[in-house]
Amino acid sequence: MSKYLMNKFLYTVDRDPELVERYREDPRGTVEWWEAERANAILNVPAAERSTWLTFSDDEREALAAHDYPALFGLGAHPFLALTLYIAMFERDYTEPLAFQLEYAQRLSHYTMPYPDIAT
């Protein structure tokens, strides 16, 4: 289990406008590409000095590939990172202000305190 790697996916996609669109349009393909090519890149380090050990667990990979943000919340992905990226991808599909954010809350409504641990 790698909460860190889920967060790294959300973080690196969110800050790249092209990746935001690619993840919106082809979530499964983007997750597979990212895990193969980007998961082990240390962000402030030359490409050759990459890590060798980072992989998603099956449920993490599936949650990301299915755009399943309630599952990401349950797996302990950082809620701010997930919210920010999913707003970027899907707020545009809703006409009323905050409609996506309120649906997001509603889809998480089965979670009660204490929420899943987000410590990495």
Binding site: F80, A88, P114
Partner: protein, 287 residues
């Protein structure tokens, strides 16, 4: 020696810029009241006539990341670019640019380290809305040199709440010992109860109005002891999953001083969160 011209603590609401600048049908119904409150709050800084701003905030996973995460970091750079692509995308925030006050940065780092705070530093820091929001609300001209200070309120494990208070006390002491004949305002932003990316987000009020009521009372009265008695790293999850931003308010209570009631207190009950604005003046300038 430097003079602390004002201590200011505030929420940082990234939607203020868009709400305050929108017109016609795009202008939300609460915008006029919000602008009026901010205009009044801004006057408390203008009245203090500062030369330099120390700005305490928290990077929202922009430049600071989990592979190398500082708890407390002081910017020491001649200039700072500000606001990020995803803040422009979601909040409509403009790109901004500030001049740094490197001499004060160096002084805070040296004396802070010597006072027992193992501060991280950055010589190239792009700052985010935790620092630019108070600039937009309090000093939209953005014409004063700054020292940004970041705290981790975001990525557990976090320091204990008392450590934020102690850091605030240290910042006050160190600024007062800066050998420059300049007026320094210390401004910090955080949150009251807040939920982001959870089931209680974006409700008609903040997720825990009772916490907000108590928190405003602690800050307004300078009751550090009571705040520390009721707040723990575990308890802050209860009012909302992003409520650890309150630790920056506790830091600012440390800057203001135990038992020092604020000279200016205002709040605004908005959807999603309670806004709160506090200003302390030096004793001789207090009401």
């Amino acid at each position: 020696m430097a003079t602390i011209a004002a201590v200011i603590a505030s929420t940082h609401h990234p939607f203020y810029y868009r709400a305050s600048t929108s017109t016609g049908a795009d202008r939300p119904p609460f915008a006029d009241e919000w602008v009026a409150k901010i205009t009044s709050f801004r006057e408390t800084l203008t009245r203090a006539n500062p030369d330099v701003l120390v700005l305490v905030g928290s990077d929202h996973f922009h430049q600071l990341w989990l592979d190398n995460m500082p708890q407390f970091l002081v910017g020491k750079a001649p200039f700072y670019d500000a606001n990020w692509y995803n803040e422009e995308r979601e909040f409509g925030l403009p790109k901004m640019f500030f001049t740094g006050q490197e001499d004060l940065s160096a002084h805070i780092l040296r004396d802070g380290l010597d006072a027992g705070f193992d501060l991280a530093f950055s010589n190239e820091l792009r700052i985010d809305h935790s620092v630019t929001c108070p600039m937009i609300t309090l000093r939209p001209e953005a014409d004063l040199p700054i020292v940004p200070i970041y705290t981790n309120i975001f990525a557990p494990p976090l320091p204990q709440p008392k450590r934020y208070v102690q850091l605030g006390q240290m910042i006050r002491d160190v600024v007062e010992s800066w050998p420059a004949d300049l007026r320094v305002a210390i401004i910090g932003t955080g949150h009251l109860s807040l939920e982001l990316g959870g089931p209680r987000q974006f409700g008609p009020h903040g997720p825990d109005p009772e916490f907000d009521r108590k928190a405003v009372e602690w800050i307004a009265s300078g009751d550090i002891e009571k705040a520390l008695g009721e707040v723990s790293l575990d308890s802050l999850w209860e009012p909302g999953n992003a409520t650890h931003g309150f630790l920056d308010f506790m830091l600012m209570m440390g800057v203001a001083g135990a038992g020092r009631p604020a000279d200016y207190v205002d709040t605004l009950d908005l959807f999603h969160t309670m806004e709160a604005y506090f200003t302390w003046y030096p004793k001789e300038a207090s009401k």
